[in-house]
């Protein structure tokens, strides 16, 4: 049985260049692109969710623009899923930390200068926002305490540093309970680390080709990993066993996101296709093709309390933000 998703809204030309990364908080969607500004869109309005009209006037208004955040563009952005803390990293190499004020607007809190080239690539944050992890060009995974990063920091102290075999760290995620960190690498390696012991828990094989996305399931039990192998491998985080492989993409998989119940996995690929997979049935239940342009990032939004259906958003080389939700009555 397939599901149907409707494109409910599009923000065309949300950025003047490719959108590379998305982050969500309970009330906001944050988008980062090759241009210097990071944009914040409000998703918490909730009033339009029941409205089936796709012509609703901008249900995702721009809440804030973080002007000139990264002069050469911003390639990764991540937020604490509970909100309050945001981190971004730009092509110039700097990591910026942003804190939400009482009026929910973001202000720069601290910056780790990227003096060593290739020191910061992919980012992830623990759900409450205390820990920030960043991959490096030579395969290390650095863990920082966000409370210690205030003002401009030249050489930020890492709490922990996970070492791997030196292959470029393309992607990273922190488990929702904060106990594990997973990293994906250029050479196809995927590792799970135990955050409390600082040791590697599992070295997961199977993808061989560059890994471009890793994502923990909401209940911490599974890790999804995907990339140029065009398949999604799902591992049990306790045993390290590969549980299943989801096949169907015909191009490199660039991005993964679990919905908040863990029932559905969303993937975006280089050829512009977004797929929704039922984890229970281990199959693709919907495919959305918006354009043939690369989807650099796909993300489920937080479900508003009064909303009937969950929504997700896709972004990439089209420079637009496209919002989808499940069609009613299927």
């Amino acid at each position: 049985m397939s599901k149907q998703y409707l494109q409910t809204h599009t923000v065309p030309q949300a950025h003047p260049t490719d959108i590379f990364s998305l982050a969500v908080t309970p009330t906001q969607l944050i988008s980062a692109s090759g241009s210097s500004s990071i944009k914040v869109h409000s998703t918490g309005a909730g009033t339009t969710i029941h409205n089936d009209s796709a012509e609703e006037e901008n249900p995702f208004p721009e809440a804030q623009v973080l002007e000139k955040a990264h002069p050469l563009g911003c390639h990764h952005v991540c937020a604490a899923s509970e909100g309050g803390v945001l981190a971004s990293v730009g092509f110039e190499g700097d990591v910026k930390l942003w804190a939400a004020g009482e009026d929910a607007s973001w202000a720069e809190k601290g910056c780790i200068k990227g003096e060593k080239a290739g020191e910061h690539w992919a980012l992830a944050m623990s759900s409450e926002g205390k820990f920030l992890v960043a991959t490096t060009h030579d395969g290390r995974v650095n863990v920082y305490d966000t409370t210690q990063i205030n003002g401009e920091v030249k050489a930020a102290q890492t709490i922990t540093q996970f070492e791997t075999k030196g292959s470029f760290g393309t992607c990273v995620d922190v488990s929702p309970n904060g106990e594990m960190t997973a990293s994906g690498h250029q050479n196809g390696s995927v590792y799970i680390f135990n955050n409390s012991t600082g040791k590697m828990a599992h070295s997961l094989s199977g993808l061989v080709k560059p890994v471009r996305a890793v994502a923990f399931s909401p209940a911490n039990k599974y890790l999804a990993a995907a990339g140029d192998a065009q398949v999604i491998a799902i591992y049990d985080t306790t045993s390290g066993e590969q549980v299943t492989t989801l096949t169907g993409h015909a191009s490199w998989i660039m991005s993964l996101s679990w919905n908040f119940s863990g029932e559905y996995l969303l993937s975006g690929s280089y050829d512009g296709k977004a797929k929704i997979w039922s984890f229970e049935r281990r199959e693709c239940v919907a495919t959305q093709t918006e354009s043939e342009k690369c989807l650099w990032a796909v993300k489920w939004l937080h479900k508003a309390a009064n909303a009937r259906n969950e929504m997700f958003v896709t972004a990439g080389a089209s420079k637009s933000l496209s919002f989808y939700r499940e069609a009613s009555g299927t």
Binding site: F20, H137, P210
Partner: protein, 412 residues
């Protein structure tokens, strides 16, 4: 003392007081031996050597300024050359290291001849410094034409360039100087030389070396509908040998400078594509075909805007109408399966640094597509070489057919 010098690979020494010949030479430059001893190949090392070349040249100039400011004292440039290489007069045989010949040039010069030799060396060093700084390649011919009155003969330039390279202990290429024009050109054009000879390039399917512009009176491009600029000689040769070229060569021109373009090749392109009485006021479109990597984009930018440091200045050799034909991210994706094994490469740390630096280049400030390409490379951590197209059947000819202007079929 001489032995000491040789061991330290010292190339330049300052005599603190000319009246005291026993005063030890003060070594100004640290030894570059460690650098030379590193394994060859690898661009990071090239960059390091170029950095050394720049700092060596600058320290020589600084020392000269010091001598001038002090108004006394002398300075000796010690130039060495390999045996067998003929050096202009004034050789001092360094008995301690018989494998090398050393030549001392005193500053200020002691006679007219020495002053001239010093001027020649200084001028060449200045041009090399400029070339290395701006990352452009110049030929020995280029150097000669920058100041023919001073150099007198081409052979003087040739000798001193090689001597400087030997003295610095680096290959000549590290000075960004090539032996002669390095460009190749092929296709439907002919030149008229100043002496009246007509050179028909289309007669030579393999292409000819780019001639010296000063020898060219005019150029016949009436049949040329487009110009294709190619990064690499290998691709140039591969296209020249292809079946597609048999058709394309009747109305197109292909040119390569084998990497970063030299002035001769850029002058030729400018003459071909900028309307002037010398080319019959034609302006055929120019398309670039480069690797999908930071150097490919930098090379393209050098053709189009000049070297990055001079890009903001007017440059008669610029080609603002030039367009990027390939490779693009899409070419790589389309061939992702077939080229995954060959041609698709991971960016090195040097590539990543270079791409990052290039995002700041003024020359690329208005080149949105190139910036997008640079960011895509960084995001994907991948680069692709033109050879990818060889992995796909008809890959190159398809790209040329789709990318080049459609032929206007003459009305019959």
């Amino acid at each position: 003392m001489a032995q000491e010098l040789a061991e330290a690979s010292t190339v330049f020494d300052e005599k603190s007081d000319a009246s005291d010949p026993e005063t030890p030479y003060t070594r100004i430059e640290p030894s570059i031996r460690s650098l030379v001893a590193r394994p060859p190949g690898g661009n990071a090392i090239d960059t390091a050597i170029q950095g050394t070349v720049i700092s060596k040249i600058e320290s020589i100039f600084e020392a000269m300024v010091d001598v001038l400011l002090k108004e006394r004292g002398q300075l000796f440039l010690v130039l060495t050359s390999r045996p067998g290489l003929q050096i202009p007069q004034g050789i001092v045989i360094d008995t301690a290291s018989p494998s090398r010949h050393a030549q001392h040039i005193c500053f200020p010069g002691r006679d007219e001849n020495e002053a001239w030799r010093l001027a020649v060396v200084t001028r060449i060093l200045e041009l090399i410094h400029e070339a290395v700084r701006n990352n452009i390649t110049i030929s020995k011919r280029d150097i000669y034409y920058r100041d023919p009155a001073l150099f007198g003969r081409q052979s003087n330039v040739d000798k001193y360039v090689d001597t400087i390279a030997c003295t610095f202990g680096v290959p000549r290429s590290a000075l960004q100087v090539t032996a002669a024009a390095k460009g190749l050109v092929a296709g439907a054009l002919s030149f008229c030389r100043r002496n009246g000879d007509v050179v028909d390039v289309s007669g030579d399917i393999e292409g000819i070396l780019v001639p010296n512009m000063n020898d060219i009176l005019s150029i016949n491009v009436t049949r040329v509908e487009w110009i294709l600029v190619i990064e690499k000689e290998a691709t140039f040769r591969s296209i020249a040998a292809s079946n597609a070229w048999k058709t394309l060569s009747t109305h197109g021109v292909m040119i390569t400078a084998k990497g970063y373009p030299d002035i001769a090749t850029r002058s030729m392109l400018s003459l071909l594509s900028n309307p002037s009485p010398r080319n019959g006021f034609r302006s055929p479109p120019v398309h670039g075909m480069m690797d999908f990597d930071p150097d490919g984009i930098a090379i393209y930018s050098t053709y189009k805007h000049g070297s990055k440091c001079t890009a903001h200045e007017p440059d008669e050799l610029q080609l603002p109408q030039m367009k990027w034909l390939g490779l693009s991210c899409d070419h790589m994706l389309r061939n992702a399966d077939s080229c995954a094994e060959q041609g698709l490469l991971t960016l090195s740390l040097r590539d990543r640094k270079k791409a990052q630096k290039m995002l700041e280049w003024k020359a690329l400030a208005n080149e949105d597509d190139l910036q997008t390409s640079l960011r895509s490379m960084l995001m994907l951590n991948l680069k692709g070489e033109l050879q990818i197209l060889d992995a796909v059947p008809d890959g190159m000819s398809n790209l040329l057919r789709c990318g080049l202007p459609k032929r206007e079929v003459p009305w019959v």
